[in-house]
Symmetry: C2
Subunit: 192 residues, 2 copies
DNA sequence: GCCAAACGTTCACTTAAGTTAACAAAAAAG
DNA sequence: CTTTTTTGTTAACTTAAGTGAACGTTTGGC
């Protein structure tokens, strides 16, 4: 279980035995059942997540409708805005599948950063990278039509189509479930 | 000129005289004329920016058309994806106005982080914050119609409408210039 | 194993954005 | 000052997504 995490980190910096032990001592691994709500609108959460296994999603409830905006799967990390800005969360976070996550808060980070300053460098690099990638996805979204976004998703995250209900994918792609259904039909029809 | 930068940083951590001097010694302040292209598609740039004064934008050229995806103004910082992933840039960056920017690369950061480790903490916190905010903007975009996005922009960054050509705003809002023009007309008409 | 809820598809209709093109206005270049 | 070039508006038409509703299917709870 820790292995996935350490393999991931090793891509950036191989860890020493002491460093690995320090992480294990933090006791950050948690199991959640499908459907578990990790964060609710209005809550002041202080924890961020790293997905070892499974899938979680963030969603807003607007006029009684769920609007899914993100999915996080294996090796993705996610720190809700409320962790950063100390305001109540505007969205929910829930498990799409049974999941194994690491769960950590800023105090735990502080402890580990003081013992091993390299970890802070790692976190800085990771979040700079995630920021640039998040902006690139946003750019992609802005410059594409709904159909192009669906095709792009097929290329880049085909697994999501198997793991996630379509109506959640629809709002993730910025459209209504009926539109996604129609687009899929259109594409199938074209191919015959 | 340095004052804007130090005031901004002071919101996160007040700097000592030595720290300020170390930054000034890096000689990172630059003046650019309106229209200057800072980064071209295909280039491997290694520099990130912080806007002291002025406005820069990033844009793609797709089928010969410019697609503007972001504007950075006073106190915004921006590190292009190519700086992070070592791949040729997929987009351009240019000055929308005469601008004063700080320009820094990872080696300069390394030097300053080694002398003052607090700076790395600052950069980590800043990029975590920017990441969470970038995701929130993306969420907003996904869950809104073109008209709602225009109205949101009026609320959150009304200055952009004065500073930036409308056809650039249009692609920033994920629509065609004609559509933005129509939306504006529709809104004016409704109000009478 | 049955029932209710959730999910996905389809359809007819509405609405809004994309497209193409013409033209006006403003800004930059000479 | 005049001429381009860039920018913005408008209009007619096309295309695709939103809406509301019906219906079939799957899923999960009991």
């Amino acid at each position: 279980m820790e292995k996935q995490l350490f393999n991931f980190i090793a891509k950036y910096m191989p860890l020493s035995v002491e460093e690995k032990e320090a992480i294990i001592e933090l006791d950050i691994f948690r199991n959640y059942k499908k459907g578990t709500v990790l964060l609710k609108e209005g809550q002041y959460s202080k924890v961020g997540y790293f997905v070892i296994k499974g899938c979680i999603r963030s969603y807003y409830v607007i006029d009684g409708e769920e609007k899914t905006t993100a999915f996080y799967t294996e090796l993705d990390s996610f720190s809700p805005l409320c962790v950063v800005n100390n305001k109540p969360s505007e969205y929910y976070v829930a498990c799409v599948e049974d999941s194994i996550l690491t769960v950590a808060n800023p105090e735990m980070e502080k402890i580990i950063f003081e013992k091993f300053p390299r970890f802070e460098t790692l976190c800085r690099i990771l979040s700079e990278e995630l920021l640039a990638k998040s902006q690139a996805s946003f750019d992609d979204f802005k410059t594409s039509s709904p159909e192009q976004r669906y095709l792009k998703l097929l290329e880049t995250r085909p697994d999501l189509l198997q793991r996630v209900p379509q109506h959640q994918l629809a709002s993730y792609l910025g459209m209504k479930p009926q539109s996604l259904s129609r687009i899929r039909k259109r594409l199938v029809d074209q191919h015959k």
